[in-house]
């Protein structure tokens, strides 16, 4: 039985001056679903992400999250609603240990106010969140003690930290921006397992990816973008052989 759509995007358009980066884009992501978004460089994938996350203001269109319009909200409010993201290039908070990085992800989930930070309830909450953050570090398999310096992490570990930090915000929708880029084959396989585990918890995953070999076995559905336009949408096995996709990826010779 298909579950409800948590994210609905309709007619989403973004123009930078004369350039149309994203053009009347329509798609939706359901709870527990992994939607892969592929396309060559400059296809508008990252722009779509930044529009949903509130980093860019859209020119036109509508984005509904859990039934509510979120377009125009500042990024921190969108995060508070349950949309968390990772960045294509790892962007940890350099001045904090691993666990504090993850705890920043949980920022919007703290119930105790600023005046109560010295109170017993706040201290209990802090301890409980800290425990949960340590569990997330375990879940993604970072393999480092919670108090490790982020500067000592490898590139692959940094990617896992990005995911743990986003999960700490208890998202209902997780936006992953090319999570496999720069990872070794073994790391990619482990990452795929983690992403399946996240979707199995009922979290919707919108995944931008360059690498079809990584994406096609993982995604439940795939949307293909080229020059800001969605050119195909369907099950991974259907996408693989569509002429338009092959053309976009391999040039017009391949399609003929």
């Amino acid at each position: 039985m298909p579950s409800a759509a948590i994210l609905e995007v309709k007619g989403l358009t973004k123009r930078f001056g004369g350039l149309t980066a994203v053009s009347s884009l329509d798609f939706e992501v359901r709870e527990g679903e992994i939607l892969g978004m592929i396309g060559p460089n400059g296809a508008g994938k990252s722009t779509t992400f930044n529009l949903i996350a509130g980093t860019y203001a859209a020119t036109q269109g509508e984005v509904r999250f859990a039934g509510e319009p979120i377009l125009g909200l500042p990024p921190h409010r969108i995060a508070a609603r349950g949309v968390m993201r990772t960045f294509q290039h790892n962007r940890p908070f350099g001045g904090m240990p691993v666990i504090d990085n993850v705890l920043v992800g949980a920022h919007t989930r703290f119930a105790s106010g600023l005046w109560a930070v010295a109170g017993g309830r706040a201290l209990r909450e802090e301890a409980q969140r800290r425990k949960r953050a340590a569990e997330l570090i375990e879940f993604v398999g970072l393999g480092e003690p919670p108090h490790a310096d982020v500067a000592t992490l490898s590139f692959g570990q940094g990617r896992l930290l990005e995911i743990a930090r986003a999960l700490a915000g208890e998202p209902r929708l997780l936006l992953l921006d090319e999570p496999a880029a720069g990872l070794t084959l073994a790391e990619c396989e482990r990452l795929a397992g983690i992403i399946r585990g996240i979707a199995a918890r009922g979290i919707a995953v919108l995944l931008i990816e360059h690498d079809m070999h990584f994406l096609l076995p993982l995604a439940h559905r795939v949307a293909v973008l080229n020059f800001g336009v969605k050119i195909a949408d369907g099950l991974p096995e259907q996408i693989r052989n569509q002429p338009a996709v092959l053309e976009a990826y391999l040039g017009s010779h391949a399609a003929t």
Binding site: A53, T55, P74, P75, H76, A79, A80, M84, R85, F87, R91, F93, G94, G95, M96, D100, L103, V104, G105, A106, H107, T108, F110, L114, V117, A118, A122, E126, R165, G169
Partner: protein
């Protein structure tokens, strides 16, 4: 040892020391404690939240002047004068922080520099209310509950101020708010994506630390029993910045060590090289920035890791 006992022990030790010091040394000790208190709150603003502001010492002055003016020019009752002084600091802090934190960091530096300069102008031109260039003097700490705190007992009050400030900042630093401040310092865009309201976090940190500086200023007003414009000039605003950088920005221990070192250094250096000690400060700051951006505390950490 439980944390509470540790704080209590520190209070007794630091306050107890005052009873064994001469009047002169008590005066030096009080100022040392006040500098450490100021450096602690400035470190939260600059080192932890990453806001480059030059108004911290001006807020110290606003606190000092306002309590004196409310008490002895307007003859308000003591508790009311204190509350109004704090309210004034919060009001000024909000007025500076709300417009400037919405822009990039550079504008906060400019706005706070302007505030610090404007404050001195207002003090000099304030006529009878501020006492003009000569400031206000010849007043005494009012009696409170029938007693007037003085001598080493007043030093004990300053110890309580220091430990109270440290306790507040310590607790904040280890909460979601402290992490949000550090996240805003390290990368505001990512902090926002994680749900941190960057502008709000900056405004709260600025207002809170400025109010703490104002409270310290109120306590200072009864150390020398005189307030005048030169005390609150920009020299001291920069000295505060140097203290935090040399000690190690972002660390409470750094603020304490930096403040103690740079406050006490002139007492050692002046007999040897006179006013050239300022030169030594400059060299220390440049050395800290170039060689050890994490300051003396960072140096200590590095030595402990690779002995």
């Amino acid at each position: 040892m439980s944390p509470l006992l540790r704080w209590l022990g520190a209070a007794l030790l630091l306050a107890g020391a005052a009873f064994f010091l001469s009047d002169y040394h008590n005066d030096v000790y009080r100022k040392l404690l006040l500098w450490v208190t100021l450096a602690l709150s400035y470190n939260f603003l600059f080192g932890i939240c990453g806001q480059i502001a030059f108004s911290h010492f001006a807020f110290y002055g606003i606190g000092a002047y306002s309590v004196v003016i409310f008490l002895f020019q307007f003859h308000l009752p003591f508790p009311l004068a204190i509350l109004l002084g704090i309210a004034l600091c919060i009001l000024f802090a909000l007025a500076v922080a709300i417009p400037s934190t919405r822009l990039e960091g550079f504008y906060l530096a400019l706005a706070t520099l302007a505030l610090a300069q404007l404050f001195i102008v207002v003090l000099n031109e304030g006529g009878a209310v501020t006492g003009g260039p000569g400031g206000l003097a010849n007043y005494k700490l009012p009696e409170f509950l029938g007693t007037r705190v003085r001598g080493p007992w007043y030093t004990a009050v300053i110890v309580l101020l220091l430990l109270g400030t440290l306790a507040v900042l310590w607790r904040l630093d280890r909460s979601w708010f402290g992490r949000a401040c550090r996240a805003v310092r390290d990368n505001p865009e990512v902090a926002a994506a994680m749900g941190v309201d960057v502008a709000r976090t900056k405004v709260i940190a600025f207002t809170l630390t400025s109010a703490l500086a104002g409270i310290a200023g109120m306590v200072y007003a009864f150390v020398d029993n005189t307030v005048n414009p030169p005390i609150f000039g920009l020299d001291n605003a920069f000295l505060l910045l140097f203290m935090v950088i040399v000690g190690g920005a972002g660390r409470h221990a750094g603020a304490i060590i930096g403040a103690a070192l740079l406050f006490l250094l002139p007492f050692v250096l002046s007999p040897l090289i006179g006013h050239h000690h300022v030169l030594v400060f400059g060299v220390l700051v440049v050395a800290a920035i170039l060689l050890q951006p994490r300051g003396l505390v960072g140096l200590y950490d590095a030595l402990r890791r690779h002995p």
